[in-house]
Symmetry: C2
Subunit: 353 residues, 2 copies
């Protein structure tokens, strides 16, 4: 079968030929339909993130996937079921985090990430998986099923953010998403029904397809070149919720200054080490005197994936059509890895059915 | 009656003569037993915090109090009931925060703080209060009843910290309290039953009465002059919970580096503006990749006070005896405001019964 892989030493992905995997006892064989491409994939190809499986000279990429069960192999699934795989796998037979269904809370030593670190991903014509790592979805959602993984990331982050405010009455009315990439826009669309006043921070000029989506969602665009994050309350209003999806290191501290009283900032982007001066006293004081919170969030578990299925089903068709700017066959996978201002979200198609 | 007050322009508190307050309809008259002294009182006397009631030339101090109902005045209390007052009051008749019993979540414009900002405190022979701001306590707890307010501060901070970890399985086994003052030590005593491995950070040499308490509680003393906060995991272990009670501005960011995976740092101290260099990238990355959280907490509501009553009842007698290093009559109130290494917690006694 064909797969999209990064070879050790290579600087770009390539189509490779591999044997079709044989499902072990208790594993289903899945025929891959589509695999989404995100910022993590770009970082992996740039050698900035992830790692090869032990003893392998390549990593099959792809961690956002949707497929069809080809051989149920006594997993409880039926041939033709449409499924989405979760990302983390136990490195050595399992541990408590996996046993209780919370691999997303595991420390790095306790997981591999398929398509990212230590385990092959899903950008292959077939993959195998144990059933607890497969979430069934309605067949009608299959064309956009690879969006369930990124949506699950936001489901978990919002769950952590809401939990942090659950000991008092908290009804968020204002929120800003920092970042107008595909995850930021998807999060914006997820928040439309709940939040009265939505904002999205970016640094783009109009005309721009991401800003068109911001407008169509009824959100207010905040240009970070004119309004730094810490000045959002004076330029607009204090935010009950900040969702950080850029990974810009200064946003970690600045987010607190964008918050209204009792607000929470959820951080998802992963910056590199970078030292700079901050008013640490004001940061600390704002957290305390305003009962503010900052929560970091990484990965998601099967529960978040299941919730993401419902969320995907509720997103408007126009939004999905504008968000996904291209779906490409394996022969032209490079086009799915293009990263320009007209590209928002792309996917590689491995099979059409 | 006599009261302890700060006059405008004065640099220290003084005993003043005031008319005994007349309870308005729906207010009880309370005879004050004892009033605790804490860091906020020292800041108020130094002119660094708080404010005078509108139109008044003085502020009666004291926000940690215990008293006896002298005139119930149809509030539902009975003469002789032992009560502890909460601190925040609505400035103009009330607002939503007070209506739902969460004045601790109100923004500054929506509250006065008795004995701190905009309203007279409890360091007077009598005070009046509406019943919803009085929490009844068992008479046997009266001698230490002024500790219920500081305990309530920790009840709320721990509630926020636990809430932030409530969306997943979290059983904290390690915790460090930053600060060996009276609030830090009280928090340490509150955590002894729940946390297996307790630590307390300070910057004192032995022999020292606070370090004796740390030892007697079975906690490990961490000297910040040898082990900076960010190095706690390498010197000891990553902490599931950090409780910041010093107000040292650098602890806000550094606390995140002291946390174990999935840990939470609760910030309570209030530093002033202070700019310095931090590795904001590493701070942000640690929050995200470790699902870590930072929660600020200020004040407490009646629910936390009621919980604090049970907590106080469960604290060992030896601990309370060692924590309270002096209770002084109004004539020698200056001794209660002494702040040296042999002083931990003090109170002013207004009445013995």
């Amino acid at each position: 079968m064909r797969a999209l892989a990064l070879r050790r030493g290579a600087e770009t992905a390539a189509v490779v030929e591999k044997p079709r995997p044989e499902p072990a006892a208790g594993e289903a064989l899945v025929r891959t339909l589509r695999v989404g491409v995100d910022g993590t994939d770009h970082e992996i190809l740039a050698g900035e993130h992830g790692g090869f499986p032990a003893g392998e000279d390549h990593l099959v990429v792809g961690h956002e996937a949707v497929g069809v069960v080809a051989e149920p192999n006594r997993t409880g699934f039926e041939t033709g079921d449409v499924v989405v795989p979760t990302v983390r796998r136990p490195p050595n037979g399992g541990n408590n985090y996996f046993q209780r269904g919370e691999p997303d809370m595991a420390p790095p030593s306790a997981y591999h990430e398929r398509g990212i670190d230590g385990a092959h991903g899903f950008a292959a014509e077939y993959f195998t998986s144990r059933p607890e790592f497969l979430v069934e979805i309605p067949p009608a959602l299959a064309p956009f099923g690879y969006l369930i993984e990124p949506i699950s990331i936001t489901e978990k982050a919002l769950e952590l953010a809401r939990a942090s405010r659950s000991s008092f009455e908290w009804s968020p009315a204002s929120a800003i998403v920092l970042g107008n990439g595909s995850l930021g826009l998807t999060t914006l669309a997820m928040l439309v029904d709940e939040i009265d006043r939505l904002y999205c921070l970016g640094r783009r000029d109009r005309p721009d397809p991401t800003l068109d989506i911001v407008d169509e969602l009824g959100a207010t665009y905040v240009d970070s070149r004119e309004t730094p994050v810490a000045e959002i309350p004076s330029a607009h209003e204090g935010m009950d919720l900040v969702y950080e999806a850029t990974g810009y290191a200064k946003h970690g501290v600045e987010s607190v200054h964008a918050l209204a009283h009792n607000g929470v900032a959820a951080l998802l982007g992963v910056p590199r080490s970078w030292s700079f001066e901050v008013d640490g006293g004001a940061f600390h004081e704002q957290l305390v005197m305003g009962n503010r919170a900052l929560v970091g969030s990484v990965n998601a578990n099967a529960r978040h994936f299941r919730r993401a299925v419902d969320t995907l089903a509720g997103l408007p068709a126009w939004f999905l059509d504008e968000l996904v700017t291209g779906v490409y066959g394996l022969d032209e996978f490079e086009r799915a890895f293009t990263d320009d201002d007209s590209t928002i979200k792309t996917a590689v198609e491995l099979s059409t059915r």
